[in-house]
Symmetry: C2
Subunit: 439 residues, 2 copies
């Protein structure tokens, strides 16, 4: 990790690296958590104890001793997992999710659990965007995005079913990886819609996402662990022109043009790729299938004998999924297949696809976590996507770009992101925020 | 309908066509039903009354007055729908399934409900194969296949989630159409796994399947009602070489070679298409996703307050789906995506894919409905497939071939099947069975 702008650079030279890192995180959290509210659970003594144990051992991997935040739908055997619902507050699963087991195997230290919207769906948390407190950090992985952006933890895991990794990463100005579908195991994570559900990562530098992938990836069905991409100068890049382009803010649309124009000098070709008009329904089609699958996946967990109830919003969402006519489900699944076939075809013509990671800056207010429409092609196709902070909008909040690559080119994508950040300077390295201005 | 070998040819000239056809069907059923047991419900008076009403009207379509059998998971407002389960015996839905509404709108007459395995899954019916009574007719659309094969009804609807249209059609020696996914509406039909669930048709001549499609098709998402294929002499045909080829009987494997060799003189090219080895898992992957979706889709219907219980076999199947680790579901969904991408790619190289419709003749015994492995590519890809009886095996029972085409080329596929049957004679027109030999 050369040249990171975060204070973790110094810490990495420390022989008590892990304890120092945990202490640094806890100090920052102490200072900021009442404002940002990114954590659902913290156990400082437990984290320090595990960090000390790691410091006493030989390093096992690049993640050895590194603190990690986990979205509170990822099971941990030594910390509660509350699913963002009062129904499950304080619940203690009896074992670690498989991604947690792999992180611990590689020496990472679980710092705590980060906030999530209710059952990783819509009802927001109290978490605030560190860049502007009156704005949403995005969701559903709200706490992971905000904590990493605020320098409270160097790395965090979230999950994406619609746009819950890429969008909050974009709103909070950090790097994200939504890996190839199935590459990071989902066992022990709350399933919402297993057709799409994917664990993803948040970091302040893309190279950390590569380290996460090293720890978490399982070999693909058909593919080796790493599919390679051509060298940057030989790369063909396709700029997606989707039917939902008009949902981007003018500043975000302008950023995409600037970013793609700037890439021309670094790659062999940048061309436009029209997303077929028939995919204008993709957003709705994805939402319907997500609702239909969620109504089945969550049914046992929301009917727990408990005085609390799920929100009216979630209830209505699940009811919509459960009661949809079969022909609407058929239509939606047909649209998803067209979307996958389109992405396969596009990635036959170019090496990488470029699009926005969110429609614009984080919207004002905490009532909604924003619009995931730009994330749905990656969620539906299952292709890996990296999110890069790449500028600021008219309100001074971060804007993000998304690169989508072929299945299992996750490591190659992370290298492209690193190169665009360190060498070409197209991606914006997150500054360490001091006191955030309120509003 | 020129030149059909069935006695319906004469009946079609009759001005009391519908009543005559119904009477003919009922006579045949009277003679044979105690042996074949293809019907779950019949109401002769109701059918005659509706037929008489149709005979008194101007013809509305090619299906006007034609008797149709409906698999007993397709809701009918005037006949019970029992889902092949004692739990639902005698249940009366309050409206017709959408396919039934369209059939009646076009003047077809519902003759009755045909037997289905339990909730269209595995536990067999008592239905026998009309070609050899000791052999299975296949399933889950057992009654539809057997009734059509036995000349008890000219047309029937079934459903396919794994191989429940093509396989029983092959075992019973009739023509089948498993349409493009989503093309025939599934509303009002028992959902088992809506990722795959498709209503399909059984007939004694492929042209009837075209008439069914005329009545039932909805426009595709991206495609016009009918995607055309090149004329037969310009057609490129790919013979699938799948990893599961060794599950075919020697006679079936030989039939595929004979059939594809004979096609060479009628089309522009016949070439082999290797199915990737990574799809060796397709059968298991499909079964797992089917089980996972069925455990959600059937959960309310199997927990009905009722003294009867579902079979241990179904219980175990659903439990397997419900308790599968997320990573197995992820792996299976990844295999399904590879399969869809493979079929898309293959149909970019050729116009039609050719494979067996079943691994061989109907197996002896009624305990199992046979192996659907050869049907899974069509079920998973959602592409239309036509099944053609094309020969006999060493036991004298039918063998079937399957043609898979691009999405919404359903009408074109039916025309190819008609041409192969009437002009080229490659498909075997079902004989009218007299008394079936028992065993």
């Amino acid at each position: 990790m050369s040249g990171t702008s975060s204070p973790f650079a110094e810490i990495l030279a420390d022989e008590n690296l892990s304890v120092s890192a945990i202490d640094h995180c806890l100090d920052r959290i102490e200072l900021r958590d009442r404002t940002i509210q990114a954590w659902a659970h913290l156990d400082p003594d437990l984290a320090r104890e595990q960090a000390a144990a790691r410091d006493a051992e030989p390093r096992r991997s690049a993640l050895h001793g590194i603190p990690v935040g986990l979205k509170d739908i990822i099971d941990t055997e030594d910390q509660p997992t509350g699913y963002g619902s009062e129904l499950w507050a304080g619940w203690r699963p009896d074992r670690d999710a498989e991604v947690v087991r792999r992180l611990r195997r590689d020496g990472a230290v679980v710092l705590g659990k980060t906030t999530t919207t209710e059952f990783a769906t819509y009802r927001p948390t109290a978490t605030r965007n560190p860049h502007r407190l009156g704005h949403t950090p995005g969701g559903s992985s709200s706490g992971s995005a905000a904590a990493v952006a605020d320098g409270q933890v160097p790395l965090a895991l979230g999950t994406q079913t619609a746009g819950s990794v890429l969008r909050p990463g974009s709103f909070c100005g950090v790097f994200t990886l939504k890996p190839t579908y199935g590459r990071w195991p989902f066992d022990g994570v709350l399933p919402v819609a297993l057709t799409f559900d994917t664990v993803g990562g948040f970091a302040r530098h893309p190279a950390w996402l590569g380290a996460l992938d090293e720890a978490l990836a399982t070999d693909g069905v058909h593919a080796p662990h790493s599919v390679v991409l051509p060298a940057l100068q030989d790369m063909r890049v396709g700029v997606l022109r989707p039917p939902w382009a008009d949902r981007a803010t003018p500043a975000a649309a302008a950023l995409l043009e600037t970013f793609s124009a700037s890439m021309r000098s670094s790659v062999s070709e940048v061309r436009d790729i029209e997303v077929p008009a028939a995919l204008g329904d993709l957003d709705d089609a994805h939402t319907l299938i997500m609702a239909a699958e969620a109504s089945a996946a969550l049914s046992e967990r929301i009917h727990r004998p408990h005085p609390a109830r799920v929100s009216d919003q979630l209830h209505a969402f699940l009811h919509g999924g459960r009661s949809a006519p079969a022909s609407e489900i058929q239509h939606a699944r047909e649209v998803l297949r067209l979307a996958r076939a389109f992405v396969d075809r596009a990635l036959g013509e170019v090496d990488l696809l470029l699009t926005l990671a969110a429609p614009g800056e984080a919207p004002a207010g905490l009532a909604s976590t924003g619009d995931p429409v730009f994330n749905k092609l990656a969620s539906v196709s299952g292709k890996p996507a990296v999110g890069l902070p790449a500028g600021r909008g008219v309100h001074g909040l971060p804007l993000g770009i998304q690169l989508i690559g072929p299945a299992h080119a996750d490591q190659a994508l992370v290298r492209v992101a690193t190169c665009l950040t360190d060498r070409i300077g197209l991606a914006a390295r997150p500054e360490l925020l001091e006191e955030t201005e309120g509003e």
